[in-house]
Amino acid sequence: MRAVRTSLVFVVLLFAVTACAGGGRPVDLANVTSVPGPSPVGVEENPSQSATSTAPAPPCDPMASFRPPASMPTPGQMPDGSTMRAIQDTGKLIAGVDQNTFLFGFRNPTTGSLEGFDIDRVHEIAAAIFGDPNKVQFKVVTSNNRIDALEKGEVHVVVRTFTANCARWQQINFSNTYYVAGQRLLVDRQSNVTSLDQLGGKKVCAAKGSTSIKTITEHQAKPIPVQVDNWSDCLIMLQQGQVVAVSTDDTILAGMVAQDPNVKMVGDRFTQEPYGIGIPKANVDMVRFVNGVLAQSIADGKWRDSYDKWLGRTGEQAPAPPAPVYLPE
């Protein structure tokens, strides 16, 4: 009897001990705690100041350019020794453009051809030189490479939402202003942000080498500048929730709104961005010629047609074409 009881106690104890000691745990074979989201190639957060700031330039009127010649040469018969003649002899105008900015310079994915308000300007210049608007070789340049491409002579002109300012006038020439844009903010539809002042410590996107990234970097509210290679990269970063706002020229932002109705443009214009066509410093005759082309295009209504075709779809009131300002001769 006693032996039975003893062994019973022993067995119960044994069970108790094994029950406590057998601390099995559920095993997680894969433990993923975070996954880095994809981001555009070449994106940089908080770029070093030297990349965006330039030496202060002497004051100037960035919109003032050289007066066009009294009479424009006939297409296909450029005056001997002129820059235009050299271009005519090579058989094509090499234009630095953008292929990623909707409404200004973008590749139409359906046809594969480049289109937009800037691209129309290029065709007008080609038509004036050759009598054929299609004698153009487009060369895509990033915002950051525009001045470089002109200085190295890789392109004859740059037509790429190019703001004329005094610092850039030191390095290259600009044509007359063919459009005046202004920097604004683009945010998600749900957002109640209306100005850069509300974005201290928040990420705001703009393209490398643009005037916009400089404005963001130098803003007193100290937003975190995020710079990318192409403007459309800013749109997809906003869509992917990697930045809270995009800030640049309202025209570029309008192109983004046209692509995605879930983003909206807010606040007032807080800068003035006169767009000019970039031309190498040495080619003043070319600047005069291009100014003549622009004046003609405004006079015969082509500028207006082009505006309606591209920028008209944003619903903004069509402004009067910018009046040319000429440098004192």
Partner: protein, 452 residues
């Protein structure tokens, strides 16, 4: 018989007896070694134990070798092939997506199918490769990276497609992001995984060709012991021969010869399969990867439209690895390793494809740099034009793939030949060891009986 002194204590007599067994044994061994029959008995027992031990160790060694070889064919090489297939499919998907974008409009069905096929192939091979990575944290990391990022990549490509259909340039931006993800994360992980699997294959081949020193040592010791024992017997009993011992010696000699010949054959076939099979596969795979990278760079240069200088530089740098007469040329190196005429011919055709492709590429660059962008694009991606870069690249890839299959076949032939060389060796070694043990028992028993 109780040989241990009994003393008072808590331990029972039984336990004490057990505890004192070793001492008892040692004492009795010493006692028997003093007389000749006792010594004979000890020699017999030792030889039998040694023979059985040699048999067990030898059989296990042979069994291990056999399974190493079999796993080369069934497992290691297929996994390495699967991981190279992952790289190939992903890289091709990237180049195809870029081509489809260049083509404009809705995606041409051929390109769409090719992309879908690439993604499906990559996914299926990834599943196979991931079943194999446990225990190798580095390989596991690569598989994780691939498994986590591949769906992200395809998501970006689909978003790009949706925007492209609407005619918005945001599509191009998503495609650039997708391609960036592929080049920065997926392809490096796939390449790393392939290198790991390839190194594991080589390590398994090393194991298959290594000499089983322990087993070999035991056989030699056993043989020596048998010879010494017979010399001792001859001296003690004045009889020249002992049938049992001769049988035992014969069995051990047969085992040694059979094993040596089989292992030599096996290791030479495995080495052959390594040199002309997997070694060649590795070189061809490298050539293929180079060609794929070049193709991606070629299309991306056109996508960038004048802003793609670095892609073109990379193309030119890479092209040095599959052109020229030097040892840098991977295709030439693969030809040097080719075992059959067929592979040599395929690689010669591949070399010609490379030259034609580079000629087409040169023309594409001239057209693009000269302003004829549309012509450049169509020469690059059109499947209709016979001399288009797309066709040249496809032919090159096909020829490399065929050469790759030949080389894999070579590996499979050689390695299964190696496996055949080992046929029956495992049970054979066991049986021969038993025979040796039986011979020793017989021979010693005969002599012991003479002492009765």
């Amino acid at each position: 018989m109780v040989t241990t002194p009994v003393s008072e204590g808590p331990a029972t007599p039984g336990t004490r007896r057990v505890l004192s067994l070793p001492a008892t044994a040692a004492r009795s061994v010493r006692k028997s070694a003093a007389s000749t029959p006792g010594r004979l008995f000890l020699i017999g027992v030792s030889l039998v134990v040694l023979a059985l031990l040699t048999g067990v160790v030898g059989a296990i060694a042979m069994q291990e070798k056999q399974s190493t070889i079999d796993s080369l064919i069934d497992h290691r090489e297929p996994v390495a092939a699967a991981s190279q297939q992952i790289y190939r499919s992903l890289s091709d998907a990237d180049a195809t997506a870029a081509s489809a974008f260049l083509a404009g409009g809705t995606i041409p069905p051929a390109l769409r199918d090719r992309y879908d096929m690439d993604i499906a192939t990559a996914g299926a091979n990834l599943a196979k490769a991931s079943a194999d990575v446990s225990g190798d944290p580095e390989a596991e990391r690569q598989v994780n990276e691939l498994a986590q990022q591949l769906p992200v990549y395809t998501g970006l490509v689909e978003t790009a497609r949706a925007y492209n259909r609407q005619g918005f340039p945001a599509g191009a931006a998503y495609l650039r992001e997708a391609s960036g993800l592929m080049r920065a994360k997926l392809l490096p992980a796939a390449q790393e995984l392939y290198e790991i699997d390839s190194a594991r294959l080589t390590a398994a081949q090393d194991a298959a060709t290594s000499v089983p020193w322990v087993a070999l040592g035991l056989v030699v010791v056993l043989l020596g012991a048998l010879v010494v024992a017979q010399m001792y017997l001859t001296r003690r009993t004045n009889r020249l021969l002992n049938v049992g011992m001769m049988v035992a010696t014969g069995a051990v000699v047969v085992a040694l010869l059979w094993g040596s010949v089989a292992l030599l054959l096996e290791s030479s076939r495995v080495s052959n399969g390594r040199e002309h099979g997997t070694g060649q596969v590795e070189v061809i795979v490298q050539a293929r990867i180079v060609a794929l990278k070049m193709r991606a760079n070629e299309t991306l240069t056109l996508v960038a439209r004048g802003d793609g200088g670095e892609y073109e530089d990379e193309f030119q740098n890479l092209s040095e690895q599959i052109t020229g007469d030097g040892s840098n040329n991977l295709i030439t190196r693969a030809r040097g390793l080719a075992a059959g005429q067929e592979t040599t011919d395929l690689l010669a055709a591949a070399q010609k494809n490379v030259d034609d492709w580079l000629a087409a590429h040169k023309k594409i660059r001239e057209l693009d740099d000269g302003g004829a962008y549309g012509d450049a694009v169509s020469l690059a991606i059109s499947p209709d034009a016979k001399t288009s870069a797309a066709n040249m690249f496809t032919q090159l890839d096909d020829n490399l793939l065929k050469a790759l299959r030949e080389a894999r076949q070579q590996f499979a032939d050689d390695t299964s030949g190696a496996s055949n060389a080992m046929t029956g060796l495992t049970p054979g070694v066991g049986v021969l060891a038993l025979l040796a043990a039986a011979g020793v028992t017989m021979g010693i028993r005969d002599r012991l009986q003479e002492y009765r």
